[in-house]
């Protein structure tokens, strides 16, 4: 990390392992609206190491994008607020960092690509210029050098004929190419962390695969850590090292890729996986949708947020929030079923157990 006066070094976190890129602890984010305080993120704890890919998975509105944008403090404050929690990026205390410091961090230490590439590039500015702008802002390069860098990065993300393409406007690019250009822009200052917020959701299926391949290449070739946000577990299966499943502003289960796919413990994770088609699924296997909708975060339920939709729901789930139960190593889940006192299904009186 470059030394910088305006950057607030987080002294409390000196004991973090050196490979730790991002550490989020008990993060709460609220939005003050006319209707009241919307508690979009309610105590998220996450971490990402160098070169690692963390996938954050969950339904829309579960707080995954808010969490990601809080890392860059992109949510306008107000109405957004961080009542509680810590975000440490490298050795910087993000929550305490003032706007000036954030401007030096954004795009350099952490960069982001968004869901809809069609609307993310400025329509009245040449694509090359938009990349050059980021390069010149963070690296001391001349105009010509910055342009050469922009071409280099466009080449890196497999845009054909980049010397010509830099001069073109976004509407002359296809959707997939725009997303590549966004990725080129995000990588242009060699960030510690790249946040990809649903990078393929707005794209055609064939293009989706290309973008995921590109992200995979980046993962292999650079040291940049990636946070991949998606609602589609299928997308992350091949790529993520670790997965965090979010529901109603909380991480309900977190573990390695294998653990989440093959040894999952939280009923929500299981429900998500059941709603996912797979090649080897039997003809008779039905895809199961999750009935109901996530709770309104204006008034989050007192107990487990998933209780109303959970087929294993118990008395305690309605009144008390489940703590995180460690399973093995980094694998943990927040579900009362994992409590050592929890009896077997028959004893709980569960039907169709």
């Amino acid at each position: 990390m470059e030394k910088n006066k305006t950057v607030v070094i987080n002294n409390k976190k000196k004991d973090l392992p050196p490979e730790r890129v991002l550490d989020i602890e008990n993060l709460h984010v609220s939005f003050d609206t006319y209707a009241g305080e919307v508690k979009a993120v309610r105590g998220v704890t996450l971490h990402v190491d160098k070169g690692e890919v963390l996938a954050i998975v969950g339904e829309s509105g579960c707080g995954k994008s808010v969490t990601a944008q809080t890392i860059m403090k992109l949510n306008p404050m107000p109405p957004a607020r961080i009542p509680e929690g810590e975000v440490t990026l490298g050795d910087i205390d993000i929550v305490a960092a003032p706007e000036k410091a954030m401007q030096k961090i954004r795009g350099k230490t952490v960069s982001m690509i968004f869901q809809d590439p069609m609307t993310c590039l400025n329509p009245t500015m040449q694509v090359g210029k938009q990349i050059v702008e980021a390069i010149k802002h963070h690296r001391k390069l001349s105009g010509a050098e910055a342009k050469a860098e922009a071409i280099k990065f466009l080449k890196l993300v497999n845009i054909p004929n980049p010397e010509e393409r830099v001069k073109q406007y976004p509407h002359e690019y296809s959707g997939g190419m725009r997303q590549r250009a966004m990725i080129a822009m995000a990588l242009s200052c060699d960030p510690l962390l790249l946040i990809a917020d649903e990078p393929t959701t707005a794209l055609d299926v064939t293009i989706q695969a290309q973008i995921m391949d590109l992200l995979n290449e980046i993962k292999d070739e650079t040291e940049t850590a990636i946070i991949l946000i998606t609602h589609d577990l299928g997308v992350v299966a091949s790529m993520a090292d670790r997965i965090a499943v979010m529901y109603a502003g909380k991480v309900v289960e977190s573990g390695t890729n294998e653990e989440i796919f093959y040894d999952n413990k939280h009923p929500y994770t299981q429900a998500l996986l059941n709603s996912l088609p797979s090649v080897d699924s039997n003809k008779r296997d039905k895809l199961v949708s999750i009935p109901g909708t996530p709770p309104d975060l204006l008034a989050p339920p007192a107990g487990c947020a998933f209780a109303a939709r959970c087929e294993h729901c118990m008395e305690i789930c309605k009144t008390e929030q489940p703590p995180e139960f460690d399973i093995i190593g980094d694998h943990y889940a927040a579900c009362w079923l994992l409590h050592p006192d929890c009896p077997a299904a028959e004893e709980r009186g569960e039907l169709n157990a």
Binding site: D296, A308, E311, M314, H339, P343
Partner: protein
């Protein structure tokens, strides 16, 4: 390490979708929500009160005034505001706004003029509304070539500066119109409908494509039902706002034309023609211009602010 928890707390209850669905926000109907937001907007409320007051004054004052609009008091011409009559028959009666160069009572003339200004504006906007809804409705509903031609015509009409057309038409119609009122309405309506037509067409086209209309069709709803239940409620709010905002523009056009001498003819008067009279004696008797000027501005301001308030109230994106 874990506290022990009573076993009965782990009793299975199963999912309860209903409770999850129950929204924390109370659902409010669109109309009621719009009204609530409109009344919360203080400026719009004040403007509505002003509009109603102005309307009442223009309707009532001419009935109750001790003077008539063309009655001359040659003993006290250009009297100041609040002048008290001294002549025998009308001793003690007050010219609230004073008198003009011919000794006519400005108070009664102001509200008589207001009657005509507002009437011209309302009638012209109503005609624009009718023509615009029919033209735009046909254009949007037919689609294709008809729509294309009809909209090109609108574009050409819009290309000609509207005041120029209004002046020309006023010149033609005005020569056979002794009051000057009808010709003002005709001239303004001839070009004023294009905005409404575009708006209505846009609404119809957009709604025709909208999924809920297609869904209604797929469910077997007839055309009339689609129009009554889906098209109208969705377009109505936008049309109401447009009408509200068209009135100040009509008032402005009337005032402008009257001010350059193309307005209503003597013995009639309007706010524009009063301002026109006032400007000639402005340096000596400024109040004779202030009064109609304030009336025009206040009316336009009220309708503009009220229209803005309505638009915000109807805007579903602002629902909370």
């Amino acid at each position: 390490m874990m506290d022990n928890i009573e076993r009965n707390k782990f009793k299975w209850v199963g999912p309860d979708i209903e409770s999850g669905e129950a929204m924390a926000r109370k659902s409010v109907t669109f109309g009621r929500d719009a009204m609530r937001r409109l009344f919360k907007n203080k400026a719009a409320g004040v403007c509505l009160v002003i509009i109603v007051l102005l309307l009442l004054l223009t309707i009532l004052v001419p009935f109750f005034s001790p003077f008539t609009m063309n009655e001359q008091h040659l003993t006290h011409t250009n009297a100041p505001m609040g002048f008290v009559c001294t002549n025998e028959e009308q001793a003690g009666v007050v010219h609230l706004f004073g008198t003009d160069a011919l000794g006519r009572d400005i108070f009664v003339r102001t509200w008589e003029g207001g009657r005509i200004s507002l009437m011209i504006a309302f009638v012209a906007v109503f005609i624009n509304f009718l023509v615009g809804v029919i033209y735009g409705g046909i254009s949007g509903y037919m689609g294709g070539l008809v729509d294309n031609i009809m909209m090109r015509i609108v574009e050409v009409i819009n290309g000609i500066p509207y005041l120029m057309v209004v002046i020309l038409l006023k010149m033609v119609v005005g020569s056979s119109d002794p009051t000057g009122i009808v010709s003002l309405i005709v001239a303004y309506s001839a070009v004023g409908w294009t905005g409404m037509a575009r708006l209505v067409r846009g609404q119809v086209v957009a709604l025709k494509e909208q999924e809920f209309v297609i869904a209604a069709k797929a469910l077997g709803a007839g055309s009339s039902r689609i129009i009554a239940r889906h098209l109208l409620p969705n377009s109505l709010s936008i049309i109401i706002v447009e009408i509200t905002l068209a009135i100040p523009s009509a008032i402005f056009t009337e005032a402008f034309l009257s001010f350059i001498g193309m307005g209503v003819t003597i013995p009639y008067c309007s706010w524009g023609s009063l301002a026109n009279d006032g400007v000639t004696v402005f340096q000596l008797y400024p109040s004779q211009l202030w009064i109609p000027a304030i009336c025009i501005s206040l009316t336009m301001l009220s309708f503009n602010l009220f229209g803005d308030g309505l638009r915000d109230a109807f805007d579903p994106r602002l629902r909370r």
